[in-house]
Amino acid sequence: MTTAPSIAVEFKKVMKSFGEKRVLNDVSFKIEQGQALCLLGRSGTGKSVTLKLIMALMSPDSGEVLVDRDNVVGMGEQGLSQVRRKLGYLFQDAALFDSLTLYENLSLPLHRLTKKSKEEIDDVINRVLDDVGLGADGAKYPSALSGGMKKRAGLARALVLEPKILLADEPSSGLDRITASEIDRLLMRQREEHGTALVVVTHDVHGVRRVADRVAVLDKGNLVAFGTVAEVAESNNEIARRLITE
C-alpha cells in the first residue's frame, strides 16, 4: 500500500483585493512536499501576494491557504509562529537587516527560535554560509555585498532554520545569467538534498525550465494555466504559452 503524498501548500478558492483591484480571483492549486512550483505572470498579477498569503503576512478576503495541512487564515499568533517555522522566505531584494552583519542576520532566528548553543549556532551558520559560497563574508554588513551576494545571503537566512517549504520571490531578478543559474542550482540542491518544497516567483524562463516540476500562470488575478512546463507550453491560454516559450 502506498501512502498519499504530503501536501506542502494548497490554495482553496482564494480571493484577494486591494481596494477596487482584485489581485487573486478564486485561485486554487496545490503542490506536494518536495515539488518545485514556479509562479509566472506579468507584473502586478498577484504572484508576490501569493507568497505573502502562504507566509500569512497578509490575509485573503476569502478562501483557505493551507501550509502543511494547517489553514493559516485567521490563525492566532502562536499557531502562525509554528507554521512559519516550516517556511523560509527569500525576498526579492533579500531584505537583509541593514544594521546587522551577515552572521548576525543568520544568528538572529537561531538565537530566538532554537535552543542551540553558541557553538552549534556557529556550526550551522558556517555550514549554510559555505553552502551559498559566502563562508568568508560573515562579518560584512549587507551594504558591502553585491546584488548576487545579497541574494545568496537572503537564501542563507531563509535556509538557516531548515524549512520544509521555501518561498522565493524573483530569486534571479537583476542578476546576470551565470549568477542566476547559481541561485537556481542552490534552490535545486535544497530540494534534492532536503526534500524542501519550492514556490518560486520568477520572470526567468530559463530558471523555470531548470527548477520547475509545476508551473502556475496568473493573469489579471486568475490562474490561467497549471501543469508541467510542457503542459503549460501547450496551453490554450495565449499568455501562458507566450510566457513559457518567448
Binding site: 503576512l57 509562529s81 512559519r84 531584494d93
Partner: protein, 256 residues
C-alpha cells in the same frame, strides 16, 4: 469638515498604536538587547547635540538677561534666573524639541525604510513579533533617554551661563552655584525633568507610528521622517502646557 474627521481618525490610530506599545512593553519576551542598542542610538549619539546646544543657549541667555537686569541693578539674580529657567522649562522643552528632530526623524526614516525594503516582513517571516522587536524598544529607549539627556542640557546650560558671567563679572564658581541653587527646590527640578519621559513617549510612539505603518515605498521614507518631526514637536508643545498644569496641581509651591 473632512480635515476634522481625518484628525480624529489619525488621533485614534496613534492612540491605538501607543496603547499597543504600553501593553507590549509589559508582555514578555523583553527585548533587552534591542533596548540597549536603541539606548546607544538614542542616548549616546544625541549627547553631543544636547550638550553643545545647552551650553550655547545658556551662554546666550545669560548675555541677554544681564543686559536687562543691569538696568535694575539686579545682576546678582542672574544665576538664579538661569537655573530656574533652565531646570523648569528651557531644558526640558528645548531638549524635547531638539530630540524630536534628531531622534524622531531617525526612527521614522529607519522604520519606513525597513517597511519599504520588506525587512519588517522578513522579521515576521522569522516568527519574530516585529512590533515588539522594533517599536517597543525604540519607544522605551526614548522614555529612558529623554530625562537623562535633559539633565545634560540643564547642566550644560548652567555651565554656559557661568562661563558667560565669569567673562563679564569674574564671578567665582562657588558663588555662582550658591546663587543658582539657593532658590531652587527639588520640585522645580524633579517634576520638569520627569515630564520629558512623556516627551520621549510621544517622540517614540509618533515616529514609530509613521515609520512602521507607511505603505508608500521609498516616498514614504521621507514623508515618515518629516511627519515624525512635525507631529512630535507639535504634540510636545501641547503636552507641555498640560503637564505644567498637572505639575502646578501636584506641587502648588512651584506655581510662582
Amino acid at each position: 469638515m473632512r480635515w476634522l474627521s481625518r484628525s480624529f481618525e489619525f488621533a485614534g490610530k496613534v492612540g491605538d498604536f501607543s496603547l499597543r506599545v504600553l501593553i507590549d512593553s509589559l508582555r514578555p519576551p523583553f527585548e533587552i538587547a534591542q533596548l540597549s542598542r536603541q539606548l546607544v542610538e538614542v542616548g549616546n549619539k544625541s549627547l553631543a547635540l544636547i550638550v553643545v546646544s545647552g551650553f550655547a543657549l545658556g551662554a546666550v541667555m545669560t548675555l541677554h538677561t544681564r543686559n536687562i537686569l543691569v538696568t535694575f541693578g539686579a545682576t546678582a539674580m542672574i544665576p538664579a534666573v538661569q537655573a530656574v529657567s533652565f531646570f523648569v522649562e528651557i531644558g526640558p522643552l528645548v531638549a524635547g524639541l531638539l530630540l524630536a528632530g534628531r531622534i524622531g526623524s531617525g526612527i521614522g526614516a529607519v522604520l519606513a525604510n525597513m517597511r519599504a525594503s520588506e525587512q519588517i516582513d522578513a522579521i515576521e517571516s522569522l516568527s519574530i513579533d516585529s512590533f515588539k522587536f522594533l517599536v517597543v524598544p525604540r519607544v522605551l529607549a526614548c522614555v529612558i533617554a529623554l530625562p537623562l539627556l535633559t539633565l545634560f542640557m540643564d547642566f550644560a546650560g548652567l555651565l554656559g551661563g557661568f562661563l558667560s558671567e565669569e567673562f563679564s563679572s569674574h564671578i567665582a564658581p562657588e558663588l555662582y552655584l550658591n546663587r543658582a541653587f539657593n532658590n531652587l527646590q527639588w520640585s522645580n527640578f524633579i517634576a520638569p525633568t520627569l515630564k520629558t519621559a512623556v516627551f520621549g513617549f510621544i517622540i517614540g510612539s509618533v515616529s514609530s507610528y509613521f515609520g512602521y505603518t507607511t505603505d508608500k515605498g521609498a516616498q514614504g521614507v521621507g514623508e515618515a521622517a518629516t511627519n515624525s518631526v512635525v507631529v512630535s514637536s507639535l504634540l510636545i508643545i501641547v503636552a507641555d502646557v498640560l503637564l505644567i498644569k498637572c505639575i502646578f496641581f501636584l506641587f502648588p509651591d512651584t506655581a510662582i
